[in-house]
């Protein structure tokens, strides 16, 4: 009871105005697109993912009025939209072999395309977003121990696919 009262007071103190929410939604668009790009490694898919995430966030804009960390929630929405989109989209096939040119980012994209979606998400949340294991666990809804083991597996898979 006490907790709910405290959280209720916090929500009231955090209440954002409609203008603040509009500004927030406008300002986060580039970040959400780039996050989607980091997870999907495909610009066409990233655009659709960012659009879908923004629509979902807009539909729940009442949540943004009281959330303490709206960015964490928007990140979760975007990453989950990206995972759904990767699962639905056909693989880029046939994939050309990775380029030996170290400056060629196409090679990285193709190696990432061979990884499991959850591995791509963990790599992006670690290396692109710089999140801790606990934060990644919250975004993906998995325990911290699983995050650590999946991250290790994802890095190994990336190295293996790269050298193939």
């Amino acid at each position: 009871m006490e907790i709910s009262l405290v959280s209720g007071l916090e929500s009231a103190a955090l209440a954002r105005t409609a203008e603040e929410i509009d500004r927030l939604l406008r300002d986060v668009r580039p970040w959400l697109y780039r996050l989607a790009l980091a997870v999907t490694a495909r610009s066409d898919l990233a655009e659709d993912v960012a659009q879908e995430a923004l629509l979902r966030i807009s539909r729940s804009r009442h949540k943004l009025a009281s959330l303490r960390e709206p960015n964490a929630w928007m990140r979760t929405v975007t990453v989950r939209c990206a995972l759904t989109a990767i699962a639905k989209s056909p693989a880029l096939c046939p994939l050309p072999p990775p380029s030996t040119d170290p400056t060629d980012q196409v090679a990285v994209r193709h190696v990432l395309a061979r990884l499991q979606p959850i591995e791509r998400a963990i790599l992006a949340l670690t290396h692109f977003e710089g999140l801790s294991y606990a934060e990644i666990g919250e975004v993906l809804g998995i325990p911290v121990g699983t995050v650590a083991s999946r991250l290790h597996a994802a890095r190994e898979a990336f190295r293996k696919e790269w050298s193939r």
């Binding site: 697109y33 170290p102 980012q105 090679a107």
Partner: protein, 101 residues
Amino acid sequence: MNPDPLVELESFYDECRGATVPQRLLICPVALPWWQRVAIPLAAISFGGLVALLILALPSNPSIEFRDQAARALLESQMRQAPQLPAPHHSRAGRSLSWNA
């Protein structure tokens, strides 16, 4: 080639951080207030209805109407040019007499 492929991965994420955001994503309105979400479809439906009424109000076959008008004008001109019939005779008793009588 770098010894660790993860360096390549890091540079890929650096590229993502500087990626150009599509214009469509920046200008597309995703957060409309409730009155705009109602007003915009209503305006679209009204405009569509207006266009439909205008289309229905147009004559279905303008060429037929034009031919009807032309035929009527021709008939009227022929009637004007036709010889005028004399007025019927009236007897002194006030009875109307036919022309053939």
